[in-house]
């Protein structure tokens, strides 16, 4: 049975295995009942579609009913102008009230729009409306299909006075996919397996067109969706996935489930701790998990995610390991883990002694290793479709973030490998000569590598490479310096170091990415774009030919009944255009469609001016004719290729079609046009746009400009011509006032220059800071995430509480965190306030500028109208061509509306493609036509593309003024670019501000906590008796006062102690004199008495003088002896011999002292010696220690008197040896106990009171001490301790 800690992993692994076994069973069951289940699912989906249709119908019906119910509608239809203005407002409110924003209108008979809101279509063309027929119907256009509801507006007389309409586009198909536009299908919501064919109101009586047959084996069912009145609105067919598709989905689901469980089991197994093999197990688990993810695929995200898409990134460098962005991240993280485990093992080994050859070998090996790392980074940048160097504070997209994290992991992996290599090379040399040799070898190897490096194969970024090498060389070579610090650091501090490492690596990564990005751009320009420029004429012809072929396939106008003004053809030209390669490539091109009478019924042009008169002769041929022409727009001419043919079907002429392709360089796919709307028509990938805009310049051989994609092309220096005749070249010139790198190449027709902006030092620094900050913040976020998880798991270390404890425990950290947190506020304010202020200012400037332009344009248009009226009475007052001309004067596009409907536009394609409705927005019409406002500024939107529009009234020769609108799309882009630059500058400033705040916090913390720490240290010294402790004041603030106060206090204490010592000394002397007097006086009395007695006996002849003499002399001698002893003791205390310290065997000393006493002890007194184990030698003066032990023993003997026990013990602890003399005497009171070591203090009637004082002095002279443990009635123990002699081998047991 598995051990307890294995159980979770084993259970999860068992779950994975069971899930894997369940898959075939599920497949078998699924296969058995597939058809019945499919039919049931289809029926369910058809019901859902029917309900969805009901919802859409309900939206338009209820909206139309609400409009019809408005009092203002009736009043406006009766001619109330005030009510009309209110009606516009009511319609705007109603339209805004619905999330679907249906377009609402009120029509006066027969179908003249009176008021409207939202994107109202060309209402007059609604057959249902015109015929006053159906309540709900569908209008199918070439691009969009609209669901329309009508409701009659009854007057007071009960008659129908008008009609309310509500329109909702339910299907839009432009065949264009980019960041701004996408197709729309409200009914199916673009889910797979559903086909829809809407029934146009014109086809109501006809049977629905059949849907294409289903693939063999597929199961599908169709249903007609009907309006409330029973008329068909659409035919839908739902088909089920084939059994194989279903099986594939089931298998995919199980694979993901098994993959998730298996990885979880491995994670649980690999992260188990506690054994020596834990790192090996972790490495094995990670490797196995990587293998499982490779074979079964990751459990998340969905297969359609960009994270799993090779369109974003894929490489074959490591076989199948790098097939998607997520693969790249998983692989780099797996390798990083393995390298980190190896590094940890290497660092745990004892360091090897320095070796020149080993160091040289490591240095040599480091070169290919560095090459390999950067080869991989280069491979990643060249096999990615994203702009990897765009590292921002806020990640731009998930795939970009994943790739950048993977690159960071890759760099960390490389750093680990290099550190391993350098650690194996041994420590960096410490002497001057070896250091010079090592650095010299680096220089020589570096120079050789630089000279012979295969740059074409692997272009190393020099500075990051050197920095990475030096960093890892220092890490590996100085491992003994930093590793103990790291080992001793708390987990939180180590995590902080991890974040700092991320910051450092990101600062190394960004320049590398810029290097490779620039290299790729140059290669792309040189090898690819230049070729595209040179082949452009043939390419245009080739694509035009393919487009003509496609148009033939489309059978344009084939189903339209031949005759003038065929219905529903306004968007036809755009629909045809979007189905050809002209749209796919974003060519400057146009398509015109004529009816059999020659009238142009539909026209769409992209980047080409308005092309032709509304009427012209039909082409003669039924096959394609091609000519090169020059389209004139005032003084400007545009060369075009023009293909046209007559459209003849079944022997009848249905019309004609013309295709124009601009014969210039605007068609190049990598050139960004000046037209702000060009982005709307170009398909783009889902990734992040590349950061290096490519421009093109074309010159003739006389250096005259032929073409420029920029506003201010540079003059081509004369000296370059000669070089260009020989070969192409790179140079730097100013384009639009900014330095650009230019690749110049030529052919017989002229010289071409492909340009991209040079990255300036300021911009580089800003981007570097942003990149470093972005990835560091990501690291911090990741760390906080880990801590949060650990907090939830209630793990004590590396959790949020432990982090708070670390911060709370250190004043400097608290200050640091507080400063950084506080610095966020002004940075945020800076971001919001400054940006808001500048944006507002730019907006105002734009509006002012637009109003100025509008005034100029208005004058030009009105002049043109007057001129046109004179020249061609009865014609349209203003044409598209006229507006194109005026727009070139005011450098802005223009639209003119007459009675709310578009009359002319310099950007007809926006209307021809259905991107803009043919009616001016209702609120603009209301404000200007009804309320007389002089101008209106509003935001217009085309999909996700928004811009400001300024509208002013314009006289068109009719009583009611028209409306002139100026869209500020170009200006909007300029404003966005300025704001983007501003955002970048503010972000840079904010980061610098935060860094400065952090540095300031660190400095202040050091300034504040440094003196506090010093004060703490000094206070401790003072507490230990070192009154000389002082703190050096380093500041000039209150802390200085505090430090000076402390110093003063310590000085005062020191002085007081000196005074006290002097007083004590004087008192001691007085006491000593008293004691001496007392001690000396006592023997003097017997001496005096003996002498007097002797004299008296000598005078008494009868006395026995001899006996008396003998007795008295004996007494005198005895007292003299006592006096001598007293003097000796005083002398010994006052001037003890200087201690001569040597290692001494304390048990031997004690035994020697005890030995003489054993023979002369009173009978009932016992004395024993107990020795502890392994008593180490002490550094001591043998004589003094003997005296100290003797005094303690004497003291004990006196305490026990005639009966008792004395035990002498020797014991040793960490750094001291203790001599304990324990007696069974009566003990002493605590207040007396504290004084027993004072000189001349004694509880006995005899003795000098210097014995224990002498013991204390001897102990202190040896660096040791003495204490007395005693209380009345208990055993007394005197403990003398001496420090162990260091560096002395040998102990005694």
């Amino acid at each position: 049975m598995a051990p307890r800690s294995w159980r979770p992993a084993a259970w999860v692994a068992l779950g994975a295995a069971l899930l894997g076994l369940a898959a075939p069973l599920h497949l078998a069951l699924a296969r058995a009942g597939w058809e019945a289940r499919a039919r049931s699912a289809i029926a369910g989906r058809l019901d859902v579609l029917d309900r969805r249709k009901d919802v859409l119908v309900s939206i338009v019906r209820s909206s139309a009913d609400r409009v019809a119910a408005l009092d203002e509608a009736q009043a406006a239809l009766d001619g109330d102008r005030g009510a009309l203005s209110r009606l516009f407002r009511e319609l705007e409110t109603l339209a805004r009230g619905r999330p679907e924003r249906p377009a609402l209108a009120v029509l006066a008979p027969p179908s003249s729009p009176l008021a409207w809101a939202g994107r109202v279509g060309d209402l007059g063309s609604f057959r249902g409306v015109a015929q006053g027929g159906r309540e709900v119907f569908v209008v199918v256009g070439s691009v969009s299909t609209t669901l329309v509801a009508t409701a009659p507006i009854h007057g007071r007389d009960g008659q129908i006075h008008g009609l309310a309409t509500a329109e909702l586009p339910v299907l839009v198909r432009r065949n264009i996919r980019n960041a701004y536009l996408s197709d729309l299908d409200l009914l199916t919501e673009r889910r797979g397996g559903v086909e829809v064919q809407y029934v146009d109101t014109i086809d109501e009586g006809n049977p629905p067109r059949p849907l294409p047959p289903l693939p063999s084996g597929a199961v599908g069912e169709a249903r007609v969706l009907r309006a409330p009145d029973g008329a068909a609105l659409a035919t839908v067919r739902v088909s089920s996935p084939s059994p194989r598709e279903e099986a594939q989905e089931i298998v995919s689901l199980y694979r993901r489930g098994v993959s998730a469980l298996a990885c979880l089991a491995l994670l649980l197994w690999g992260l188990r701790r506690g054994t020596r093999r834990a790192p090996l197990r972790l490495a094995a688990a990670a490797t196995a998990a990587r293998g499982i993810l490779l074979i079964l695929g990751p459990p998340l995200p969905r297969a359609t995610s960009l994270l799993l898409s090779p369109d974003v990134y894929a490489s074959t460098l490591l076989g199948p390991l790098l097939r998607s962005p997520l693969d790249f991240l998983l692989t780099t993280l797996w390798l990083l883990l393995l390298a980190a485990l190896v590094l940890r093992w290497v660092l745990a080994q004892p360091p090897r002694p320095p070796s020149t050859w080993r160091a040289l070998a490591a240095d040599v090996l480091a070169i290919p290793l560095l090459g390999g790392i950067y080869l991989w980074i280069g491979d990643t940048t060249s096999n990615s479709s994203l702009d990897l160097e765009a590292i921002s504070l806020i990640p731009r997209s998930a795939p970009l973030l994943v790739l950048q994290l993977g690159l960071l992991g890759l760099l960390a992996f490389g750093a680990c490998l290099l550190t391993i290599l350098m650690a194996l090379a041994g420590p960096l040399p410490s002497g001057r000569r070896p250091t010079l040799v090592r650095f010299g070898s680096w220089l020589v190897l570096g120079a050789l590598a630089y000279r012979f490096w295969p740059r074409d194969l692997i272009g190393l970024p020099l500075v990051p490479t050197l920095a990475l090498f030096l960093l890892t060389a220092l890490l590996g070579g100085l491992r003994e310096s930093w590793r103990p610090l790291c080992s001793a650091a708390s987990p939180e501090l180590r995590a902080g170091l991890g974040v700092a490492t991320v910051a450092l690596l990101s600062l190394l990564l960004y320049p590398s990415l810029v290097h490779f990005g620039e290299k790729n751009t140059r290669l792309q320009i040189q090898q690819q774009h230049a070729q595209v420029v040179l082949r452009q004429p043939e390419w245009r012809e080739y694509i035009l030919e393919a487009s003509c072929r496609k148009i033939d396939e489309l059978q344009v106008l084939e189903k339209t009944p031949p005759g003038p003004h065929p219905p529903l053809t306004e968007e036809l030209a755009f629909a045809v255009w979007s189905d050809t390669d002209l749209a796919a490539l974003g060519f400057s091109s146009a398509i015109e469609i004529q009816d059999p009478a020659g009238a142009v019924v539909s026209r769409f042009a992209l980047n080409l001016p308005s092309l032709a008169a509304p009427q012209k002769p039909l082409p003669l041929s039924e096959s394609w004719e091609l000519t090169r022409e020059r389209l004139a727009l005032g003084s400007e001419e545009r060369p075009v290729l023009h293909a046209r043919k007559r459209l003849t079907y079944h022997g009848e002429v249905h019309g004609a079609i013309h295709v124009y392709v601009g014969d210039d360089f605007w068609n190049l796919p990598f050139i960004t046009g000046r037209d702000p709307y060009s982005v709307l028509y170009r398909s783009a990938s889902r990734g992040v746009a590349r950061g290096r805009p490519i421009g093109l310049l074309a010159y003739d051989w006389k250096r005259a400009i032929l073409f420029s994609s920029s506003e201010r092309p540079p003059v081509l220096p004369q000296e370059l011509l000669a070089r260009l005749r020989r070969s192409s070249l790179w140079t730097t010139l100013a384009v639009d006032g900014r330095p650009h790198h230019i690749f110049l190449f030529s052919d017989a027709q002229g010289i071409y220059g492909l340009t991209y902006p040079r990255l300036g030092a300021g911009r580089f620094a800003a981007d570097l800071v942003e990149a470093g900050s972005g990835l560091t913040l990501l690291g911090i976020a990741g760390l906080l995430g880990v801590m949060l998880v650990r907090t939830i798991l209630q793990l004590p270390r590396l959790s949020l509480p432990s982090l708070l404890a670390v911060v709370a425990g250190r004043f400097s950290l608290r200050l640091f965190v507080a400063f950084v947190a506080l610095a966020f506020a002004p940075a945020l304010v800076l971001q919001v306030v400054v940006r808001g202020f500048v944006a507002d200012r730019l907006q105002r400037e734009s509006e002012d500028q637009a109003l100025e332009r509008a005034a100029v344009a208005k004058k030009a248009v009105e002049d043109f109208v007057v001129f046109q009226r004179g020249e061609a009475p009865g014609s349209r007052p203003v044409t598209d061509a006229a507006l194109v001309w005026v727009s070139s004067l005011v450098r802005n596009d223009l639209d003119v509306f007459d009675r709310g409907r578009i009359l002319a536009s310099s950007k007809r394609e926006l209307y021809a493609s259905g991107l803009l409705p043919p009616r001016v927005p209702g609120e603009v019409f209301r404000a200007m036509a009804l309320e007389g406002q002089p101008s209106v500024v509003r935001t217009e939107k085309i999909g996700g593309f928004s811009y400001l529009v300024v509208s002013v009234p314009v006289r068109l020769g009719a009583p009611a003024p028209g409306i002139l609108s100026i869209p500020l799309a170009l200006r909007q882009r300029e404003v966005e670019a300025v704001l983007d630059d501003l955002d970048r500058a503010i972000r840079l400033a904010s980061v610098l501000f935060l860094v400065a705040a952090a540095a300031l916090a660190q400095s202040m913390a050091r300034r504040i906590s440094g003196p506090v720490r010093e004060l703490t240290r000094a206070t401790r010294r003072v507490a230990l008796g070192d009154l000389a402790a002082r703190v050096e004041p380093t500041t000039r603030d209150e802390l200085r006062d505090l430090v000076e106060s402390f110093n003063q206090m310590a000085g005062d204490l020191e002085r007081q102690r000196i005074d006290l010592e002097r007083s004590n000394r004087l008192a001691a002397w007085a006491e000593m004199a008293r004691q001496v007097a007392h001690e000396v006086k006592n023997p003097l009395t017997p001496i005096q008495l003996s002498a007097e007695h002797l004299r008296r006996v000598f005078k008494d002849p009868g006395a026995d003088f001899a006996a008396t003499l003998d007795q008295c002399v004996g007494t005198i001698l005895k007292q003299v002896q006592t006096l001598r002893e007293i003097v000796t003791e005083f002398s010994a205390f006052a001037r003890p011999p200087a201690a001569a310290l040597e290692p001494q065997d304390l048990p031997g000393i004690v035994a020697e002292v005890l030995e003489p006493y054993r023979a002369s002890l009173p009978p009932e007194v016992s004395l024993s010696l107990e020795l502890g184990a392994a008593i180490p030698p002490v550094l001591a003066d043998r004589r003094l220690v003997e005296r100290a032990v003797l005094n303690l023993l004497e003291n004990a003997l006196q305490a026990v008197g005639e009966r008792g026990t004395i035990v002498v013990r020797l014991d040793s602890s960490d750094a001291r040896v203790e001599v304990q003399v324990e007696d069974s005497g009566p003990g002493i009171d605590p207040e007396l106990r504290d004084r027993v070591f004072e000189p001349f203090f004694s509880t006995k009637t005899s003795g000098s009171g210097l014995g224990l004082a002498l013991v204390k002095k001897i102990a202190e002279d040896h660096g040791g001490g003495v204490r007395l443990e005693s209380r009345p009635g208990a055993r007394t123990r005197a403990v003398l301790w001496l420090p162990v002699a260091r560096n002395t081998a040998g102990t005694r047991g």
Partner: protein
């Protein structure tokens, strides 16, 4: 509906008889005949598509810079891809789709002046899981690199 070969020929030839305006070029200038190297390369591309072999297709990619590719719904819009990336992309496409037919029409190959050629290939493929058949036209742009023709661009024609 695809245009028949005779119609393609008619389209290429017919405009020659159309009177051009003053200064106008000939209609859809006639292609130079492709050289043997180009034909060999096209055959290799055909073979790689038919066999669903992304590794051998990679050998036909340009050795310098990225390859511009737009395969409609099969790729993420029009984008430039590295050779390794494109190999993986085609590998995945060939896993999901089985090529039933891939061929270049000889007369739809056009050699341009500076060592560039355009070729149109007809690709009939079937989705492996659903069995749906799709017919597509791919336009290849090839460039002569060191005496060999390499793919510079692949684009699905609308």
């Amino acid at each position: 509906m695809l245009m028949s070969l005779s119609r393609v020929l008619a389209l290429s030839v017919c405009p020659l008889g159309i009177p051009a305006l003053a200064g106008a070029s000939t209609l859809f200038s006639s292609a130079e005949s492709p050289d043997a190297g180009l034909l060999t390369r096209l055959q290799r591309i055909e073979s790689a598509f038919r066999q669903g072999d992304a590794t051998s297709l990679r050998l036909s990619f340009s050795g310098a810079g990225k390859i511009r590719v737009d395969l409609g719904d099969l790729t993420d819009g029009q984008e430039s891809y590295g050779a390794g990336q494109l190999q993986v992309i085609f590998g995945r496409i060939f896993e999901e789709l089985r090529t039933q037919e891939f061929s270049f029409a000889k007369d739809a190959v056009k050699v341009s002046a500076p060592g560039t050629a355009f070729a149109r290939g007809r690709w009939v493929r079937r989705s492996r899981p659903s069995g749906d058949q799709t017919i597509d036209t791919l336009i290849f742009t090839l460039r002569e690199e060191l005496g060999d023709w390499r793919i510079l661009e692949i684009r699905s024609s609308r």
